[in-house]
C-alpha cells in the first residue's frame, strides 16, 4: 500500500526538490500522483531562512518514492539530496471496521518506524470519494468519524497532520478546493521540514569544518558535504547560493593547501567544462584520491557551470585565469615534482577549454565586445604553447631531436585519452595540443594563430603595449626560426613605443635584439647604426658596449671600395656639447685667425681614432657695405660660446618631446632707415616651428633615440673646417679648428662629419645655428680733438687715428696735408705713433713741412692695425669783423691726401675763441673814455697781460690807460673791464678806429706761452655836440617844490662845437638870415609817473650851428609825489625835414649792439627795448628807438649817436615837499 519512486542520484538536472517517501494505499496514490506532482510546484512559497539571510520565493518540487524502512536516513547521514523530507500516508478507507482491523495497524507500524528514525515530518491524507460512501452505505459511519478516529489515534494535538482530500478525481469546485488546501498544507509542511533539516545540515557542516585543524580530518569528506548543500541550492535554482558554497570550498582548499599541502600523481589533461558534473573527478574526491589539479579542476568546472547559469560568462574567464595562475603557484609552493612541460600542457588545455566553453554560450558579437575578458587567456595559452614548443624542440629551423621527441611523447602520454565528449568533434583543445606538438610546421601554424589572435584582441581593446609585448615574443620566435625579416617588424614597433615613452631598459634590450636581427639580414648600415647606439648605451655592460663598438671599428677598418662607405648619424657616436669661438666675438677681419673649439662628448666605451673631423660651412656674401664696424652692434648677438642642449640620451625620459622644446627668444629692434632711430622693439621666438608643432604626433624629433637612423644627406660645402687624425677619448674631447677667413661674409656651420675608415658619422644640422663673420675694412682716417673743445689762438693737440683695414702701410707712405693760413701745423720734433692691434708698438713719425704741404711719413703698419698719433695745430683768431658771432671757427677745408686713395680727405675742425669782447664809449661832458670788456667763455683760466688799446689813424690822439695791473687773472666765465681816456690835442676826430690787444696764456704757464689776442672796433661821431641842462624851479615864492603844485622845468640846450664838414652837408639848412641852423626836437617824458607834464611836452628847436649857441625851453611840470624825485627825462633828437637826403646811419643802439658781444646766438633785433640799453649802462640820453626811418619821404626824427649829446642833469634829483594839506600823509615806498 505504499508507493515508492526511485530516487534519482544525483538529482542535479531534475530540478526536483527532494524525495517524499509515501506509504499507504499505493493504487490510490498512483491515481493521484500525476496531478499532485504537477500541481505542487505551481505556486511559489516564501522561504524564510536562518541567520538573517534574505527570504526567497521558491517553487517546491517533490519526488515521491514508496516508503521503505531501509530508506530512512540513519544517524550521521550527510546526504541531503536523497533525504526524505516528508512522509505521507495515503488512505481512502471509509469503513470503520477496515480501519480498525487493517489500516490502523499499518499506520501504527509506519509511525513506529518513523519515530525510530527520529523523523517527525509526516502527514496522513484521507481521500474521500462519493463512490466509497455509496458502496459502504450499509455500515455507514459518519465520514468524520474515520478522520476523527485517525486524528485521535495519531495526531496528538496535531490536527494539521491529517488532511482530507475530497473527490480528487472529480472536476468540481469542492474537489478543487480540497486539492488546494491539500497542496498548501503539503508545501508548508515540506518547506518546514526542509528548512529544519537544511539548518541541521548546515550546522553539522559547520561543526565539521571547525574540526579541520584536527588530525585525520579529510578535506575530501568535507568537500562532499558542502557540495551536497551546493547541489541542493542548485536544485532550488539558487545558483548564487550554490556558487557561494563552491567559493567557500575553493577558499578553504587554498588555505588547506597552504597549511598542509596535498599532492600526488596527477595527469595534465586540463579542465573539463563540458559536463555539468564531472563524476569521474567527483568520485575521485569522494574516495580521497583526487590530486590537487583534479580538485581544482572539479571545483572550477562546478563554478563555471553555476556562473554560466547565472549568465556571468566573463567572470568565468577572469576566474579561470586566476585559477590557472593559482594552481601553478600552488604546485610550485607544494614542491610537487611535475614532468617538465606538464603544467604548461595543463594550462594550455585549460585556457582553450575555458575559451571553448565561453564561445559555446555566447555569440560572436558578444565575444568580440568582450575580448578584454578573454584576451588574457589567449595570451596565456600563447605563452604556454611557446614554452612547450621550445621544450619540445619545435621552435627551430631544424627538426626536433630524438630527445625532444621523447619528451613530447611523455607529455602526450600524460594527457591520457581524449574525453568521450570531444572524441568526435573536429576541434578540441586536446586535438589542438596534440597536433601542435606533432611537427615543427604544425606548431608554427598553431602558435602564429594564437599569437595573432591575442595581438589583434589587444589592439582591438587599445592595449597596444600588451600587443607589442606579444609581438616581441613573436619576434623572438621568428629569430629562433631564423626569420629575422619578420622579427624586425615587430621589434621595431615595440622599440618605437619604448623609445617614445622613455623606457630605457626595454629600449636597450629590444635594440640588442634588433641588432642581432639586422646583422642576420646583412643590413650593414642599420646594423652599424644600432651598434653605435648600443655602444653608447649605459645600460649595457662595458664588455657589451666594447663589443658593439668593435663591430663598428672592424667594419671601418675594412679596406673596401668607396661604394661601401657607410654614413651614420653622429648623435649616437658623439655629442656636440659646446662650441667656442676665439676670439669670442666670432667676427674677424679677412685673413685673421679665427679658432673654433668644439667640445665633443664621445659616447663610445673606448677611444676612437678619427681620420678626419670636418664641419661644412655655408658661406653667405655679406650684404651691404663691407666697411666692417658699422655692423658692430649686430655682431654682438653672436655669442662666443654656444652650448648645445642634448636631446637626452636613450636613458633619459623623453622630456624634450613631452614638454616641448624651450623657447628661444631674441630681441628685435626696428629702426628707421634714415636716422637709425628706434621705431619699435619686441621679442621674437626663433623656433616657433618646433614650439608650435603638434605634440600628439608620435614621431619625436630626430633624436638619437630614433628607431632607424635618420636619413643623412651629406652636403659637400665648398669650405670646411678640418682636423686630421684625432683620437676621441670616452667623455669630453676638445678639438680646435682654424676657421677659414679669406673672403668677407657670413660663415654658417652646417654639418659635422667624423670619418672613421669606411664609416662616416654625420651631424646633419648644427642647431642652434652657429656662424661667424669675416669682414673687410677700408682704411679709415679720423682726426679728432684730443680734448674738447678746441680753443683758437692756442696750440691744440689733434689726434689722428688711422685704421689700416685691409691696407698695408708701407715704408714711405705719407699723409699729405695741405697747409692753410688760418691753421698752421706746428712742427714737433718728437712725434711718436702708436700702432696697436691691440698690442701696442711705438715708432717715430717724421713730419716735413713745405710751404704748401705738410707731409707726415707713416711707419709701416700691417693691415687691421690702428695707427695713432697726435699733432699740434694752432688756429689763429681773426682780429676783425670777420669773426663769427658765436665764437665758433671752422678752419675751412684742409685736405689730406692718403696713399690708399686717389681722393682727398677733407678735414674740418671746429675751434672756439676763448673770449668775448665788447666795447663802449663813455662821455663826461667833452671828455671821452673807452671801455673794453673781455669775457672768458671757455673753461680754462687765463692770464691776460700787455693789455693795450691803440688808435690807428690819429697819431695825435692819446689813449691813456687807466688800468693798473700789468697781468690780470681771467677766470673761466668771468670778465675783465679795461678803461682808457681819450685825449686829443686839436680836434677830436669824429671817427675812432681802435685795436685792442692783449696777450693771454692759460694760467700757470710761462711767458713764452703767451699768445696775442686782437680786437678791432671803431666809434663814429664821438664828439659831444650838445649839452642839455635841466633845472626845476619851485613855484614862485616857494623854496622847494611841492607835490601837486606846478613847477617850472627849464631845459637849456647848448651847442658845444663848431659844425664839422660832414655835419653841415648832412642835416642843416641855411636860414633866411644866412645863419646855418639845425632843427632839434626835444621831448620831456616821464616814464615813472613822477611828473605830470602840463601843456606842451615836446617841441622843435632851431639851433644855430655855432658853438655856444644856446636855447632855453620852459615847460610846466607838476610833481605827483613828494620826496627826492629824479628829473623827468629829456630827449633830444635830430629833426630831418623831408627834403633831406636820407642818410642811413647806424642806429644808436646797433652801434652798441654791434659790439656788445652777447650770448652766442642772440638775435640782434631788440633795438626798441630800452630796458636792455639801460641795463648796459650806456650814457647816451636817447633812450627810445627810432621807428620813423621807414618813412623816407616824410620828415623824421633821428637820434644822436652816443656821446653826441651830453645830459648834465641825468640822474639829477629834486626835493619835492608834500602838499600843504598835511592831513594827508602819503607814504610812497618804491
Amino acid at each position: 500500500e505504499s508507493v515508492l519512486a526511485k530516487p534519482q542520484h544525483p538529482l542535479l538536472h531534475s530540478q526536483r526538490f527532494s524525495a517524499s517517501p509515501c506509504a499507504g494505499d499505493q493504487s490510490l496514490f498512483t491515481s493521484l500522483y500525476t496531478s499532485l506532482a504537477q500541481q505542487l510546484p505551481r505556486e511559489p512559497m516564501e522561504w524564510r531562512r536562518t541567520y538573517g539571510r534574505a527570504p526567497k520565493m521558491i517553487h517546491l518540487e517533490a519526488n515521491f518514492v514508496q516508503f521503505k524502512e531501509e530508506l530512512l536516513p540513519k544517524e550521521g547521514n550527510k546526504a541531503l539530496l536523497t533525504f526524505p523530507f516528508l512522509h505521507i500516508y495515503w488512505t481512502d478507507c471509509c469503513d470503520t471496521e477496515v480501519y480498525k482491523s487493517l489500516v490502523k495497524e499499518d499506520m501504527l507500524r509506519w509511525q513506529n518506524s518513523l519515530r525510530a528514525h527520529g523523523s517527525a515530518d509526516w502527514v496522513i491524507i484521507v481521500v474521500e470519494t462519493n463512490d466509497n460512501k455509496k458502496k459502504n452505505k450499509t455500515n455507514i459511519l459518519p465520514r468524520s468519524s474515520i478522520v476523527d478516529k485517525i486524528r485521535s489515534d495519531f495526531c496528538n494535538k496535531q490536527n494539521d497532520r491529517c488532511v482530507v482530500l475530497s473527490d480528487p478525481l472529480k472536476d468540481s469546485s469542492r474537489s478543487q478546493e480540497s486539492w488546494n488546501s491539500l497542496l498548501l498544507k503539503l508545501r508548508t509542511l515540506l518547506l518546514m521540514s526542509f528548512t529544519k533539516n537544511l539548518g541541521r545540515f548546515e550546522d553539522d557542516m559547520r561543526t565539521l569544518r571547525e574540526k579541520r585543524t584536527q588530525p585525520g580530518w579529510s578535506f575530501c569528506e568535507y568537500f562532499m558535504v558542502q557540495e551536497e548543500l551546493a547541489f541542493v541550492f542548485e536544485m532550488l535554482q539558487q545558483f548564487e547560493d550554490a556558487l557561494v558554497q563552491y567559493d567557500e570550498l575553493d577558499a578553504l582548499f587554498t588555505q588547506y593547501v597552504l597549511n598542509f599541502g596535498a599532492g600526488g600523481n596527477f595527469g595534465w589533461s586540463g579542465l573539463l567544462l563540458r559536463r555539468p558534473i564531472d563524476m569521474e573527478k567527483r568520485d575521485g574526491i569522494q574516495r580521497g584520491e583526487a590530486s590537487l589539479l583534479d580538485l581544482r579542476s572539479y571545483l572550477f568546472s562546478r563554478q563555471c557551470t553555476l556562473l554560466i547559469f547565472l549568465q556571468r560568462p566573463w567572470e568565468v574567464t577572469q576566474r579561470a585565469l586566476e585559477l590557472l595562475h593559482n594552481c601553478v603557484q600552488e604546485l610550485r609552493l607544494l614542491e610537487v615534482s611535475v614532468l617538465e612541460g606538464a603544467l604548461d600542457c595543463w594550462v594550455f588545455l585549460s585556457c582553450l577549454e575555458v575559451l571553448h566553453r565561453i564561445e559555446g554560450c555566447c555569440d560572436q558579437a558578444q565575444l568580440a565586445a568582450n575580448c578584454s575578458h578573454t584576451v588574457g587567456l589567449w595570451a596565456y595559452a600563447t605563452d604556454k604553447l611557446k614554452s612547450l614548443g621550445e621544450l619540445c624542440g619545435l621552435v627551430s629551423e631544424k627538426e626536433p631531436t630524438s630527445e625532444d621527441l621523447n619528451r613530447t611523447v611523455d607529455l602526450l602520454a600524460g594527457l591520457g585519452d581524449e574525453r568521450p565528449e570531444t572524441v568526435n568533434s573536429l576541434q578540441s583543445p586536446y586535438k589542438k595540443l596534440k597536433e601542435a606538438l606533432s611537427s615543427v610546421e604544425a606548431f608554427e601554424r598553431h602558435y602564429l594563430e594564437l599569437s595573432h589572435a591575442a595581438m589583434e584582441m589587444y589592439r582591438a581593446i587599445g592595449r597596444l603595449r600588451s600587443a607589442r609585448l606579444v609581438g616581441k615574443s613573436l619576434a623572438e620566435f621568428y629569430m629562433r626560426k631564423a626569420d629575422p625579416e619578420r622579427a624586425e617588424t615587430f621589434l621595431q614597433e615595440a622599440l618605437k613605443s619604448y623609445v617614445s615613452e622613455g623606457w630605457s631598459l626595454p629600449v636597450t634590450h629590444t635594440r640588442k635584439q634588433i641588432a642581432a636581427c639586422q646583422k642576420l639580414l646583412g643590413r650593414t648600415e642599420d646594423y652599424l647604426q644600432t651598434s653605435a647606439l648600443l655602444a653608447g648605451d649605459v645600460n649595457l655592460t662595458t664588455e657589451e658596449r666594447k663589443h658593439f663598438c668593435q663591430e663598428i671599428l672592424t667594419f671601418a677598418g675594412k679596406s673596401g671600395d668607396q661604394s661601401q662607405k657607410v654614413t651614420l648619424s653622429m648623435g649616437v657616436f658623439t655629442q656636440l656639447t659646446r662650441l667656442q669661438f676665439r676670439p669670442a666675438t666670432a667676427s674677424v677681419h679677412s685673413g685673421a685667425v679665427l679658432q673654433v673649439e668644439l667640445t665633443l662628448r664621445c659616447l663610445m666605451p673606448v677611444s676612437v681614432h678619427i681620420q678626419q673631423l670636418a664641419a661644412s660651412i655655408h658661406f653667405d656674401l655679406e650684404r651691404g657695405g663691407t666697411n666692417g664696424r658699422s655692423k658692430g652692434t649686430q655682431r654682438q648677438t653672436n655669442p662666443g660660446t654656444v652650448e648645445f642642449h642634448q636631446s637626452n640620451s636613450s636613458a633619459g625620459p623623453p622630456s624634450s618631446s613631452a614638454a616641448g622644446p624651450p623657447l628661444e627668444l631674441d630681441e628685435i629692434q626696428d629702426r628707421s632707415p634714415s636716422d637709425n632711430s628706434l621705431n619699435s622693439t619686441g621679442v621674437v621666438c626663433k623656433n616657433t616651428h618646433l614650439v608650435m608643432r603638434r605634440h600628439d604626433s608620435h614621431s619625436p624629433p630626430d633624436t638619437p633615440n630614433c628607431v632607424s637612423p635618420p636619413a643623412v644627406a651629406m652636403k659637400e660645402g665648398a669650405q670646411m673646417l678640418k682636423v686630421q687624425d684625432v683620437t676621441l677619448e670616452p667623455g669630453n674631447n676638445s678639438i680646435i679648428f682654424t676657421a677659414p677667413s679669406g673672403q668677407p661674409g657670413t660663415y654658417t656651420l652646417r654639418q659635422l662629419y667624423a670619418t672613421v675608415g669606411q664609416v662616416q658619422f654625420v651631424l646633419p644640422h648644427i642647431y642652434p645655428s652657429v656662424q661667424y663673420e669675416v669682414y673687410s675694412q677700408e682704411p679709415q682716417l679720423t682726426v679728432e680733438p684730443l680734448s674738447e673743445p678746441l680753443l683758437a689762438g692756442l696750440p691744440q693737440m689733434v689726434k689722428f687715428t688711422l685704421l689700416t683695414g685691409h691696407y698695408t702701410v708701407k715704408k714711405g707712405d705719407a699723409l699729405q696735408l695741405s697747409n692753410t693760413d688760418t691753421m698752421p701745423i706746428l712742427p714737433s720734433s718728437s712725434c711718436t705713433a702708436r700702432i696697436s692691434n691691440p698690442l701696442v708698438g711705438e715708432s717715430v713719425l717724421s713730419i716735413q713741412s713745405s710751404e704748401k704741404v705738410t707731409s707726415i711719413s707713416l711707419p709701416p703698419t700691417p693691415p687691421y692695425h690702428t695707427l695713432e698719433f697726435h699733432l699740434e695745430v694752432l688756429c689763429l683768431i681773426p682780429s676783425g669783423d670777420e669773426r663769427p658771432a658765436n665764437e665758433r671757427l671752422t678752419n675751412g677745408e684742409m685736405s689730406i691726401d692718403c696713399p690708399w686713395s686717389i681722393y682727398s680727405t677733407l678735414l674740418a675742425l671746429t675751434f672756439y675763441i676763448p673770449f668775448k669782447t665788447k666795447h663802449s664809449l663813455l662821455s663826461a661832458g667833452n671828455r671821452k673814455y673807452i671801455q673794453v670788456c673781455v669775457q672768458n667763455v671757455s673753461d680754462v683760466n687765463f692770464t691776460l697781460a700787455e693789455v693795450k688799446l691803440t688808435e690807428k689813424q690819429h697819431a695825435t690822439l692819446e689813449l691813456q690807460s687807466l688800468n693798473t695791473k700789468t697781468q690780470q687773472l681771467l677766470c673761466s666765465k668771468h670778465s675783465v673791464f679795461c678803461l682808457w681816456e681819450v685825449r686829443w690835442k686839436d680836434d677830436l676826430p669824429s671817427c675812432l678806429q681802435c685795436v685792442f690787444s692783449a696777450d693771454f696764456s692759460p694760467l700757470n704757464q710761462d711767458i713764452s706761452a703767451f699768445k696775442p689776442f686782437h680786437y678791432q672796433f671803431q666809434f663814429e661821431r664821438v664828439t659831444t655836440l650838445y649839452s642839455v641842462r635841466a633845472d626845476i624851479l619851485p613855484p614862485a615864492g616857494e623854496q622847494h617844490c611841492r607835490s601837486g603844485l606846478l613847477c617850472g622845468l627849464e631845459v637849456c640846450i647848448t651847442r658845444l662845437t663848431e659844425p664839422a664838414e660832414g655835419e653841415l652837408a648832412e642835416d642843416s639848412k641855411t636860414d633866411t638870415d644866412g645863419l646855418k641852423t639845425t632843427k632839434l626836437m626835444y621831448e620831456v617824458a616821464d616814464s615813472s609817473s613822477n611828473w605830470a607834464v602840463c601843456g606842451k611836452s615836446s617841441g622843435m628847436v632851431s639851433m644855430p650851428m655855432a658853438a655856444s649857441a644856446t636855447h632855453k625851453v620852459q615847460i610846466e611840470v607838476m610833481p605827483l609825489f613828494a620826496g627826492h624825485l629824479p628829473f623827468p627825462k629829456i630827449k633830444v633828437l635830430k629833426y630831418l625835414p623831408h627834403t633831406a637826403a636820407v642818410a642811413i646811419q647806424p642806429d644808436p643802439d646797433s652801434c652798441v649792439e654791434n659790439d656788445s658781444l652777447s650770448l652766442l646766438d642772440k638775435a640782434l633785433d631788440d633795438q626798441g627795448d630800452t630796458a636792455s640799453i639801460r641795463s648796459r649802462g650806456s650814457v647816451h640820453s636817447v633812450g627810445s628807438g627810432d621807428q620813423q626811418q621807414k618813412g623816407v619821404a616824410m620828415p623824421r626824427l633821428e637820434p644822436f649817436s652816443p656821446g653826441q649829446v651830453f645830459n648834465h642833469s641825468y640822474t639829477q634829483q629834486v626835493l619835492v615837499l608834500p602838499a600843504t594839506d598835511d592831513h594827508i600823509m602819503e607814504v610812497n615806498a618804491t
Binding site: L258, I461, R463, R465, G502
Partner: protein
C-alpha cells in the same frame, strides 16, 4: 612585500623604478610598462563614471603567473605600480593600499623639495628608503 615598485610620469616614462636585485630587472620593466595599458583603461573607465571624486587606488591591474601588479594614480596622473610575488598570499588588499599611501606621501615630499625638478627621475634618498622598506628583504 613588493618585488618591484615603480613611479611613472604622466607622460608614461619612468620616474623611478626599482626591483628586487636578485631578479630580472628587465622583466619587471616590461611588466610595469605593459601594466600601463590597464592603468589607462581603468583611468578612462573611472573618469567616465565618477568625475573628480575618484579613487586613486586602481586595484589589481593584472595577474601573471608569477606576479600580481597593482596600480595607483595620483590626481596629477602620476602612476605608482607595485608588483608583488604571486606566492605571497598573505598580502591583503588593505596592505597594498597602505603601501600606496605611504608611497604617495613620500612622493609628495619629493615634489615639495624646491630643488627637485618635476619630471626628473626621482633620486631622493628618503624616497628610496621608503621604497626599500616596502621591498622584499632578500638574502
Amino acid at each position: 612585500m613588493a618585488v618591484c615598485i615603480a613611479v611613472i610620469a604622466k607622460e608614461n616614462y619612468p620616474l623611478y623604478i626599482r626591483s628586487v636585485p636578485t631578479q630580472n630587472e628587465l622583466k619587471f620593466h616590461y611588466t610595469v610598462h605593459t601594466s600601463l595599458d590597464v592603468v589607462e583603461e581603468k583611468i578612462s573607465a573611472v573618469g567616465k563614471s565618477l568625475g573628480d571624486q575618484r579613487e586613486l587606488y586602481l586595484g589589481l591591474l593584472y595577474p601573471t603567473e608569477d606576479y600580481k601588479v597593482y596600480g595607483y594614480v595620483t590626481n596629477s596622473k602620476v602612476k605608482f605600480v607595485i608588483v608583488v610575488d604571486s606566492s605571497n598570499t598573505s598580502l591583503r588588499d588593505n596592505e597594498i593600499r597602505s603601501m600606496f599611501r605611504k608611497l604617495h606621501n613620500s612622493f609628495t615630499d619629493v615634489m615639495c623639495n624646491p630643488f627637485h625638478n618635476p619630471g626628473d627621475p626621482i633620486q631622493s634618498k628618503a624616497f628610496d628608503g621608503i621604497v626599500s622598506g616596502m621591498m622584499v628583504q632578500t638574502g
